[in-house]
């Protein structure tokens, strides 16, 4: 049986137990009434109640009232995950005048009712957890949350539309923003698009003003060609080290006149142009694209003769009358302190050569959608004229949806935007070159505002829609009409026959995917990734732009596929979250830090290198280890490692844990 234990503070514990139905979430599996009766008989329990929704105001009121009337000094709520409502109930305790840390939760939803098939087993398990919580809470101590001042500056990593938007909002609110972009220009994917659905406004026209606003904003420090190297510290007080690669052109002097590019000893471009997805080539010295921001040329050190081989007439230097070219520029490192970080690193596109059945890379007239965006763009490689790699103009175009998406062999998820992108392109191909267009889709996903209407418009444009996933694209002709064409083989599933459709051009709507380096990046920022590599939000509904690391927020596609309106909305949310953190001026820290009992610590230093947050140091005078509470995250590594048991952790004292374990074991 249970020990009649005295509370940690010497008082007799008077425990109140509150069992939540959570609507049917818990009550459909756990016999909550039996659980209540069971709890009532546990040692120290004074009251035990059930309620439909403990987290509701009346539920909380119930606790507060009992604290006052029944003189309760310990509270246990058996309901959902503490992640969700720990804070709610602690507040309820505090309101009634009880130290909020005299409270604990038993999770009988996520850990019981949602994962246990059998009702009797679920009730049994719930009883064990409640018994454990009741035993543990007696050992709880009164604790105070600590306040730590925060740094008011914010860093935004990635300057696509999401990063740009978030940075501008924060800067406009008066915060100093460091915007870190690894490419030579900001803009991200949106900078490569021609028109944007569903309203068909020109992408550059709506993006460029925001880009120049970034450049000119007094509160924004823009670092392009830059990468975050290291992040340390914690919410409100991060230290970030940024690596800044040389551009070999002095930003403050270059006016992007292009004289140097003209003068370069290479008369033709030789490096596949990333901005045009390799559809054109640029010289060693180049302007990324006309509206590039910052508006400056740069030199590719691998292609430039001077930088790679040390020998060149360097006509560029001669041509530049502002003496902006500087071959001596070196990598620089900057270290800054910020209170919050927003990650807006976006996405990359699925490599279409991974699906050889579609012939990308084999047949020149098979394109990816982003290539087509460049091809139709007036600033693109063909000045907007739609000619294919073989010089012909397509008369019939086949657009294949879901390439690499919704496919267990590649990405199981739906990329969300490509149906609309495919519709947009179908429309443009009708409008610009009057081509006959076939869209091959599995399901048409046009769910947001104005999207279905856009689909309707494209249907009316005379685009042919075939519901079926294309099996293959070949140059294998079976009929005279197929000679010299790319033949698409597909089942028209609505008609129920297989069709062979010869086209001139095939366009692949490739999936959005997480960056190859997403895992490295997430490690740097100490956040998690989903299975697919997208950065993981703290809660899919209620904390969609927060992460499990306080002070680090997410914006845009790096969190999962989305289009521009959703990216911008999310960037706004992330900016607001960051603002509410840094504007407050301080953060409260959970008092779960570790401490070292100086009387027993032998000074062996075992714990020091193990602490992932570098929070432990050695007091050389007393020859013992000491924990810096501001840095300690309460991970417990040192507590487990200390050979003499001197490392202890608040909220997880040995006593508390032993009681908890005993609570379970006694019942089982």
């Amino acid at each position: 049986m249970f020990m009649e234990n005295k509370a940690s503070d010497g008082e007799q514990p008077r425990v109140g137990v509150y069992v939540c139905y959570c609507g049917m979430n818990i009550a459909s599996k756990v016999d909550v009434e039996a659980l209540r009766q069971f709890a009532e008989k546990l040692p120290n329990v004074v009251v035990s109640r059930t309620y439909k929704f403990m987290c509701s105001d009346p539920g909380q009121e119930l606790i507060a009232q009992d604290i006052k009337e029944q003189k309760l000094n310990r509270i246990v709520v058996a309901s959902c995950s503490p992640l969700l409502h720990d804070a709610t109930f602690r507040k309820a305790c505090a309101k009634a005048g009880l130290n909020p840390f005299y409270f604990t939760m038993a999770n009988i939803r996520e850990q019981v009712s949602w994962v246990t098939a059998n009702s009797a087993a679920a009730t049994k398990k719930a009883k064990a957890l409640v018994a454990a919580a009741v035993a543990r809470v007696a050992m709880h101590e009164a604790l105070e949350k600590k306040r730590v001042p925060v740094h008011a500056d914010v860093m935004v990593v990635g300057a696509g539309i999401s990063g740009i938007h978030a940075a501008l909002l924060l800067a406009n609110a008066g915060k100093k923003v460091y915007l870190v972009e690894r490419e030579p220009s900001i803009g991200g994917h949106m900078g490569q698009l021609d028109k944007t659905f569903p309203t068909l406004d020109c992408s550059a026209c709506i993006l460029t003003p925001k880009m120049s606003e970034v450049k000119n904003h007094p509160n924004i420090t823009l670092w392009t060609l830059s990468d975050v190297q290291e992040v340390s510290g914690f919410s409100g007080n991060f230290k970030v080290k940024v690596k800044r690669n040389p551009r070999f052109v002095k930003l403050e002097l270059c006016v992007a006149c292009g004289q140097c590019v003209e003068a370069c000893v290479f008369k033709e471009g030789r490096v596949p142009d990333e901005y045009n997805i390799g559809l054109s080539k640029h010289k060693p010295i180049y302007m990324p694209f006309p509206q590039a921001t910052p508006a400056s040329v740069l030199i590719d050190p691998n292609a430039c003769l001077k930088l790679s081989r040390g020998k060149c007439a360097s006509k560029c230097v001669e041509a530049c009358d502002r003496a902006a070219i500087d071959f001596e520029q070196k990598v620089e490192y900057s270290e800054v302190e910020v209170g919050a970080i927003i990650l807006a690193t976006g996405y990359q596109l699925f490599d279409a050569t991974k699906m050889p059945e579609y012939g990308y890379g084999k047949y020149p007239n098979v394109y990816t959608m982003i290539e087509l965006e460049r091809l139709v763009n007036a600033a693109g490689p063909t000045q907007g004229e739609i000619v294919m790699r073989d010089g012909r103009k397509p008369k019939r175009v086949g657009i294949i949806h879901c390439v690499g998406s919704r496919d267990k062999r590649h990405h199981p998820y739906c990329s969300g935007v490509c149906c609309m992108v495919s519709l947009k392109m179908a429309h443009l191909m009708r409008e610009r070159i009057d081509a006959e267009v076939f869209n091959f889709y599995i399901d048409m996903r046009t769910t947001l505002k104005g999207y279905e209407e856009f689909y309707d418009r494209v249907l009316h444009d005379g685009v042919n829609f075939v519901r079926g996933r294309v099996a293959e694209v070949t140059d294998w002709a079976m009929t005279p009409g197929e000679e010299g064409k790319l033949v698409i083989r597909v089942e028209d599933t609505l008609i129920g026959v297989v069709r062979r459709i010869p086209v001139d051009m095939v366009v692949l709507a490739t999936a959005m995917e997480a960056h190859d380096d997403a895992d490295d990046v997430r490690r740097k920022f100490n956040i998690s990734c989903s299975k697919e590599g997208w950065f993981l939000e703290r809660h899919p509904k209620l904390a969609p732009v927060s992460t499990f690391s306080d002070g680090i927020f997410l914006a845009g596609v790096c969190q999962g596929p989305k289009d521009i309106p959703e990216s911008v909305a999310q960037a706004g949310a992330a900016a607001a979250e960051a603002l509410s953190l840094v504007d407050k001026g301080f953060v409260e820290i959970e008092p779960n830090s570790a401490w070292i009992d100086a009387d027993t610590c032998s000074g062996c230093k075992t714990c020091i290198p193990l602490c992932p947050y570098h929070a432990i140091s050695r007091d050389e005078q007393k020859k013992v280890a000491v924990v810096n509470e501001a840095l300690c995250k309460g991970c417990g590594t040192c507590v487990g490692a200390c050979p003499s048991g001197s490392a202890q952790q608040k909220l997880f004292t040995d006593q508390q844990l032993h009681q908890e374990i005993e609570g379970v074991l006694n019942y089982v």
């Binding site: 059945e357 919704r406 599995i442 399901d443 079926g468 099996a471 089942e491 599933t493 297989v498």
Partner: protein, 199 residues
């Protein structure tokens, strides 16, 4: 007078077999049956779908929905050449080829395959030959099959057979495995015993 041919095409829920889908999904390779998104990749990649009364995609849908009669009587399952295109191309990793095999076996169990259709006969002949000799004897089996399904074809196929004989590509005698062929029979019998045990 109208010569328009009409037919009632409605399907009542009672006419469907509610257990059909589960019985197929329970077999090795059938596990993902319920995950089909009806994309049609299997149909379009299938080299034989041009002859099928229902494309492979429709067979999957009908199996899932319990259209047992139609599925088992379809020519689709017998036309399937087991080329595994559908299986490797399906974006949902549905082993369509295995499902086609399962449906063939089911049709044979329930004796609903098309009359005089050679494939089931051929399959059974192979089966017998292996049971007896440990090997399948193509020549003999095919001859048997032709005799059983379309004796008139025998004459047509004679030329081919003769040519094969002359080039030593068809033995008149019976190819037998080394060792004790009764081991095969015992093995097969044991499989039956074991299967009963686990059911």
């Amino acid at each position: 007078m109208s010569s328009l041919q009409i037919q009632v095409r409605i399907k009542h829920q009672e006419e469907l077999d509610p257990d059909f889908a589960n019985s197929i999904a329970a077999l090795p390779g059938g596990e993902n049956l319920s995950r089909c998104i009806q994309c049609g990749t299997c149909s379009s990649t299938c080299p034989v779908s041009l002859y099928m009364d229902y494309t492979p995609r429709r067979i999957i849908a009908m199996t899932r929905a319990g259209f047992k009669q139609e599925v088992l009587a379809s020519n689709t399952i017998w036309l399937c050449a087991s080329c595994y295109e559908c299986t490797v191309d399906c974006p949902r990793e549905i082993k369509v080829t295995d499902i086609m095999y399962a449906l063939k076996r089911r049709a044979m169990e329930e004796k609903v395959y098309p009359k005089r259709f050679p494939t089931p006969v051929l399959a059974k002949e192979f089966f017998k030959s292996v049971l007896k000799t440990g090997r399948s004897n193509e020549g003999l089996t095919v001859t048997w099959m032709i005799l059983k399904t379309a004796p008139l074809n025998m004459l047509k196929q004679m030329g081919l057979g003769l040519k094969l004989l002359l080039r030593g590509r068809m033995a008149l005698g019976v190819e037998k495995m080394e060792g004790d062929p009764t081991q095969i029979r015992r093995l097969m019998e044991q499989v039956e015993v074991e299967e009963k045990k686990t059911h």
